[in-house]
């Protein structure tokens, strides 16, 4: 999978992916962080449940949807990380409450 080329140093922030703390650099997108993870996917599709990962990284393909801070179906490639952000991989159809 992908890895970070440089160390973000002291300004690094922590975000949570499915409850696990992960180090991120201010200014990078949530999708970039997701692509560095062992599990290379961020959601499964609503119909066939097949896993999906960020693809276009510029807001057009909608493959990168995740739940962020309780809001479902957010495009992670368009969302910069913020300290304490809680990301949940999305499984199939999202529920009304997320």
């Amino acid at each position: 999978m992908f890895r970070k080329l440089h160390d973000p140093g002291p300004q690094a922030v922590t975000i949570f992916i499915d409850g696990r703390p992960v180090v991120a650099e201010p200014g990078e997108s949530v999708a970039a962080v997701l692509l560095r993870q062992q599990e290379g996917w961020n959601r499964t599709t609503p119909v066939s449940q097949s896993p999906r990962a960020p693809y276009c990284m510029m807001g057009v393909c909608f493959e990168c949807l995740v739940e962020i801070d309780g809001q479902g179906s957010v495009q992670s490639c368009l969302t910069p990380v913020a300290a304490g952000m809680r990301i949940a991989r999305q499984q199939g159809r999202r529920s009304l409450s997320a």
Binding site: P46, V47, Q71, G72, S73, G92, R93, R94, S95, L96, S97
Partner: protein, 372 residues
């Protein structure tokens, strides 16, 4: 194939009639226009719906009731013949009421309809907020929701699959279907009719005009003067969600795939199917008043279609007096009425005359001068 009967218009209405006729051993030819036409069949909401319909026109309430009674059997036959799942569900349907006044008004409207019907047990009830909450355990209702009316016979289906299945059913029964086959002219030829298409002519002893908004100019040529106007309806569709709405409501339904359909608006811009931001805002606002959590759900599509509206909004079914053998069938709610069109109406057309119970739907009702 020399057809026994030509059905003009392959939308929800023409396809249902052609499917019914083909099943009755007629050699049916179904002629449809093209994607540039106004096509309500491809824009509608998919409700198979009774509650609230037919005020001032008891025959329409009875017709709708009769069609819904046929729907289950109709679906089963069509599904068995075509292996297309119509996703028909009849768990009843809701009309949400925002505020106590709206709740009371709804109750009175349905009571008036019930009294107009005269006999039979009520097949609807008013659900107050606690009752509604019990029916919808996965929904947190907005504070303004006073309750809803519940219609026992209401349901919904996938209207695009319905259309595809009826087309497949026509073929399955030995009928023929032609797309991009616009009829330009109909002329009597002895006791037959000569149809002029682009670059060819066809002859058939009988024709059914069911071309939606394209019907008046064809019908006129065989002595049927059918007044019609388009009424625009806009619909919003959300991303797919886990099932949360176990039964449809009049402006809000969750499909089998999980999307939520929201709609439809009503306005009168003429032959115009553009969508507007204003309609999207209005539909969204109303929906969020009912189910606030939908505010955080993504919309994936908005579309507009034109309803086929007669002056009193009720159907027109007629046979031409000057040109017997030429029929016209026009309606709004072609999904709800599909079972009736495929069965009773197709049988009557096959037999050559429309029964007396359909006389209230003759367009001559519009000729009668209104008393002041």
């Amino acid at each position: 194939m020399r057809p026994d009967i030509v059905v003009i218009g392959g939308g929800t209405v023409g396809a249902a009639i052609a499917y019914g006729l083909a099943g009755k051993c007629n050699k049916v030819l179904l002629l449809d226009g093209d994607d540039g036409d106004f096509r309500a069949a491809r824009a509608n909401f998919g409700l198979v719906w009774l509650q609230g319909k037919g005020l001032g026109m008891p025959a329409y309430q009875a017709l709708t009731r009769a069609s819904i009674a046929l729907w289950r059997g109709f679906t089963e036959r069509l599904e068995a013949e075509t292996a297309i799942d119509l996703a028909y569900e009849q768990n009843g349907g809701l009309a949400f009421c925002l505020g106590e006044d709206a709740f009371e008004k709804r109750r009175l409207d349905l009571l008036r309809l019930h009294n107009q019907r005269g006999d039979g047990e009520p097949d609807w009830e008013m659900l107050d907020r606690p009752a509604l909450e019990r029916l919808l355990p996965k929904v947190t209702l907005g504070p303004d929701v006073a309750g809803a009316s519940f219609g026992r016979h209401d349901g919904h289906a996938n209207p695009l699959r319905l259309l595809a299945a009826m087309h497949a059913g026509v073929l399955r029964h030995g009928g023929a279907l032609r797309h991009r086959a616009r009829v330009r002219r109909i002329e009597p030829a002895g006791t037959d009719f000569k149809l002029t298409l682009d670059g060819e002519t066809l002859v058939a002893p009988r024709v059914v005009i069911a071309a939606g908004l394209g019907s008046p100019e064809l019908a006129r040529q065989v002595g049927l003067d059918v007044p019609l106007r388009p009424e625009r309806g806009q619909v919003l569709v959300t991303e797919r969600l886990e099932p949360f709405l176990p039964l449809p409501a009049s402006g809000l339904r969750q499909t089998g795939e999980g999307t939520v359909m929201i709609g439809a608006t009503k306005d009168d811009p003429g032959f115009d199917v553009s969508t507007t931001g204003e309609a999207a805002a209005r539909l969204s606002r109303k929906t969020v008043q009912i189910v606030p959590a939908l505010a955080r759900v993504g919309l994936v599509r908005q579309w507009a279609g034109l309803r086929i509206m007669t002056p009193d909004s009720y159907p027109i079914y007629a046979q031409s007096q000057s040109h017997p053998g030429a029929f016209v069938a026009l309606c709004h709610s072609g999904v709800t009425l599909a079972a009736f069109h495929a069965e009773d109406l197709a049988s009557a057309i096959a037999a050559g005359s429309l029964p007396g119970r359909l006389s209230p739907f003759h367009q001559s009702r519009f000729d009668v001068p209104q008393a002041a």
